[in-house]
Subunit: 217 residues, 4 copies
DNA sequence: CATGAATGAGCCTTCATTCAT
DNA sequence: CATGAATGAAGGCTCATTCAT
């Protein structure tokens, strides 16, 4: 094989393919997710990944991936695939807009509960590798991937009048950061009740987005 | 000299001493802040710092600091000192509690505007070096340093009835993350109007903390 | 197949077979010539050759050739075949000896003009791979292949009295190096007028080989 | 120290400093010369050099030199320094121009006899590293360094009428290649009588540069 | 005739640190 | 207070080659 990247873009995404299957690639990606989640991006080396995956040598990684950047890209793609198919199942049938934000937050929290390592790794890679990898993942830009959806949703809600006045970009970023914060908290304390945390967050942003009758300024 | 962390803990804080003075230590710490802010924690090495500071060899760093961890600790301390003295000037004279949150957010945003590198480095080190450094900084725990104050303030406000019902820990973490998010945004776009961003955030959390009359659930 | 050098020695030469045919072997050899000509012997790897030839994996090379040495041997053979058949066409019908040297130089220059890559690769491989490959190519020794003919021709000329007194080995080596020098120059400057260069060289060695009436010493 | 290059340019040339002194740098450069001369540029690695020099680890090289390219540059510079000072001693006191070419050839041959490894390494590095290192060595361009002097000398001779008509560039390149050829020959056969070879070459180019009365064409 | 998968050895480089003065 | 010199460990990557189908 000797390298991939093209191959990854050709078949790797859009469908479920990625880390899930029992390919070598998949095995390596899974080990990468676990490793990054545990020791962080910068301490993650081929050697550490190989250890965890029980492979013979680091050469196996550079055989299947064009390099570290390529491995991380593929890992990112795999995580996003997993996340998309997870969220796809739970997306509510066009509920009233007002509840959509709550649903959005809660489903992402649910993903976090189900795949805490994926979430942590997603943030780790995204945080560190930007600039090296450049922004584009799957043709989408990192920032757009993370806050773009939220922004569009909020904007739509404002136009429909279910939300009050606020800066969409700021609100979206704040939600994004809040969600990432849960991942951080969960790492510190694996016993954390993410369910409850999610509902609390939902309430918080429910109030923050609602049109306030009066405002102390 | 063969200084190390002891010395840092002995004299380094409480007073203004740190990066500010024209000591070698201060010079190194300043270069560290600038370097971490620019290229991130994990790419920051003694070599890079030495380059920026125009020092002769990395030996100078290991002479003044016990090691990388010690350097980062000292840098963190220096940043926090700077931050404390900056915020100390702007802390309002016991205004009514309701406005305190807004003041708190806006003053931190003001610091971010004045010292964007410090803020970015603070987050970078805190994010990456935990575990290596362990939590304690200046005898205080990292988490407590960053969200503890907020928690206490929110709790007090709730008891005084100026805030509604919400989970203090969640709210504090959300505010913390929102604030860090500004730093991230500012890094991506140095033209960002942090002032406006701060006011938007203040409004957002004003609404989120207020006692809501009814709630769509 | 598991072909190797035996096969190459069996069929590879004497007949036109080599890189010219539309075999896999030929395709690989052509790519090798182009690659070596462009990036030099030492930077040429199976990977680079495969890239240029558009093959699926390096396995194809090690399938058709016993190893790197074998590939280079075969490439050398192919180049020499091409060269021989090219020169065969242009060799003058036993002209007077005096003009033979000039003809020899000019025809080799003509080959260089027609196949610059072949020439460059010939020199590259010959220069770098000696020792690895050992001297023998096609049963002939590298040195003999390159300067032997010249030596024999010069020697013959001396016996016939058309040349003056000089050390045949030195003169032959000098001509050889001069010819290789054209290849070098051509690489640096593809616009070079090799025709003119060749005539200049012919004149130069005409004078150098002629019996000098008097000599300033 | 941690890197050099600047340092090398500052002190390294112009004076005798280089490989000669008993510095670590000098020791490494000497080992590099010997290694390249023996196994060729492309097989020369830090490991091989370290072996020969009896150093503790390859780290010593990357401590004293910025990288492989830098090491090779410094080695080149050192060789050229040695060569310059050697030739400086033997350059004749403005003899008649006609003998200058002979003197030039013979003195370079003498250098080759005295420092065969230096010569071989000079050519090896020059041949392989061009493009990587770029042309400039000591502010001079590789090509100019090697054939420029010859060209200027030949040109001057022509103007003074001691030489006949010929293309200066072609003649200079041919001499250069002839000289390099001696190095090649010497490598193959260390017993070679370079003195005699040199005189033969001198005679050869004496005839080639002299104004020929008539020319068989 | 061809291919995918795997592999051990080697490369140069960077890292934080220690030994002496 | 400072510096030059040295160093072992580890990093990512490329190389030619072999195994099995």
């Amino acid at each position: 094989m000797q390298v991939n990247s093209e191959r990854a873009e050709q078949f790797g995404n859009g469908m479920g393919r990625g880390a899930g299957e029992h390919t070598r690639r998949g095995q390596i990606i899974e080990a990468t997710i676990a490793t990054v989640a545990e020791i962080g991006y910068s301490k993650t080396s081929f050697a550490r990944i190989v250890e965890r995956a029980g492979l013979s040598s680091t050469r196996l990684i550079s055989y299947h991936f064009a390099g570290k950047a390529d491995l991380m890209q593929a890992t990112l793609s795999s995580i996003i695939d997993t996340m998309d198919s997870f969220l796809g199942t739970r997306t509510p049938r066009k509920a009233c807009r007002a509840r959509l934000l709550r649903a959005c937050i809660e489903s992402e929290i649910a993903f976090l509960g189900a795949y805490p390592e994926h979430m942590r790794t997603l943030v780790e890679i995204g945080t560190h590798a930007r600039g090296d990898l450049g922004a584009p993942i799957l043709g989408m830009v990192w920032h757009d991937l993370r806050v773009g959806r939220l922004e569009r949703q909020l904007h739509q809600g404002q136009r429909e009048g279910v939300f009050g006045e606020f800066d969409v970009a700021v609100m979206a970023m704040t939600i994004r950061q809040a969600l990432d914060g849960v991942s951080l908290r969960l790492t510190e304390n694996p016993e954390l009740d993410v369910q409850a945390y999610g509902q609390e967050l939902a309430g918080l942003f429910d109030r923050a987005t609602r049109a306030a009758p009066a405002q102390t300024q």
